[in-house]
């Protein structure tokens, strides 16, 4: 039996999953973070939909008995802050990646010393001889 809260939980989770999906698509959130957030959201909605799972989580009720409404607000705030912080980390990481890649490309444009690019005899053997950098 689905009550209004369960439906709301699933609709809310679906909307948040769509948002996370959008952030990953735009490369504004690393896919690893996206996967974790989506799993947590779906697990949360799943717990709310199952009476058995709810009974288990209700054992934690004393922890939030004082102000459950405030707890929900704090939880929402924390979730949004986590997504925001992870998006900022992703943005910084993407900038760093671009800089590192650009430096690598510029470094690769530097000519190789003369004579280094000449064709060397092919050495088929790998393993120990390769490890020692030997050539025939």
């Amino acid at each position: 039996v689905y009550n209004a809260a369960t439906v709301l939980a699933w609709v809310g989770s679906a909307a948040l999953v769509a948002w996370v999906f959008h952030l990953v698509r735009r490369d504004q959130l690393h896919v690893g973070y996206g996967v974790i957030i989506v799993i947590v959201l779906l697990a949360g909605a799943g717990v709310l939909s199952s009476s058995a799972a709810l009974r288990i989580t209700n054992r934690l009720r004393p922890l939030v008995e004082g102000a459950p409404g405030l707890f929900v607000l704090a939880l929402t705030f924390m979730f949004l802050m986590i997504v925001y912080i992870l998006a900022q980390v992703t943005a910084l990481s993407n900038r760093l990646t671009r800089v590192v890649q650009e430096l690598a490309i510029r470094q690769a444009q530097v000519p190789v010393p003369p004579g280094a690019s000449t064709v060397e005899p092919k050495v088929v053997a790998t393993g120990e001889s390769a490890a020692r950098g030997q050539s025939s």
Binding site: F21, V24, R25, D27, V31, G32, G34, V35, V38, I39, L96, T97, V100, Q101, L103, A104, I105, Q107, A108, V112, P113, G115, A116, S117, V119, E120, P121, K122, V123, V124, T126, G127, S129, A130, A131, G133, S135
Partner: protein, 243 residues
Amino acid sequence: MTGAPVRTLIAVPAYNEEKTIGQVVRNLRADMPGFDLLVIDDGSRDGTARELAAIGVHTGTHLCNLGYGRAIQTAIKYADCHGYDALITFDADGQHRASDLQALYEAYLNGGYDLLIGSRFDAGRGYRGQPMVRQLGMRLFSVLIALFTGRRIYDTSSGLKVIGRRAFEPLSSRPFVDLHAEAIVYLMSCGYRVGEYAIRVDERVHGQSMHTPINAIKYPLKVMFLILIGAVDARMFRRRERV
């Protein structure tokens, strides 16, 4: 082999491959003399940089480790801005045979592919000889690709690929993990021509695979997520094309 009919770059992404990189480069130079060669040192912490300097090969060094997919993207960006028509990616661990490249490259030219994958497996050979977990992963990705694109690709994680210029832009600008299954789904869904060509591989002698036990859980989740995103994006891309 006297020279390449189109400008082609061979890129070797390397991370902590000091024991094999020298031999790999020497074999590539001997077997594919008409091709330019670029090694992307992905922030190696061993003697890979020293080895590369000793050989004297064009090298782009990542100041920190960005991962395999980003190393390939650096090579694609380099190939794109230097006017190459095709890019061949070749693993630095010594498992690929440089002698297979010529046939693979000719198949690429004759087939008009945007992405041709050097395939360790095909319908006849199956996934025999691979560890069970890896077999499961490969089957899963292969089935997912068939589900989204209607065509089976057997080797979804091969490091030996020929990438055509047309595919440079989408592969260098989109989020990918390793440019394997997720990239294949996106390209095929957008209408790019993707194929497989049978190759042989040798056993890894030195170094470690990048797939650790933790990665065995994280990697499929991330790739499946990106496959889903790629499929949605490709659908939107096709819709825009029609309009």
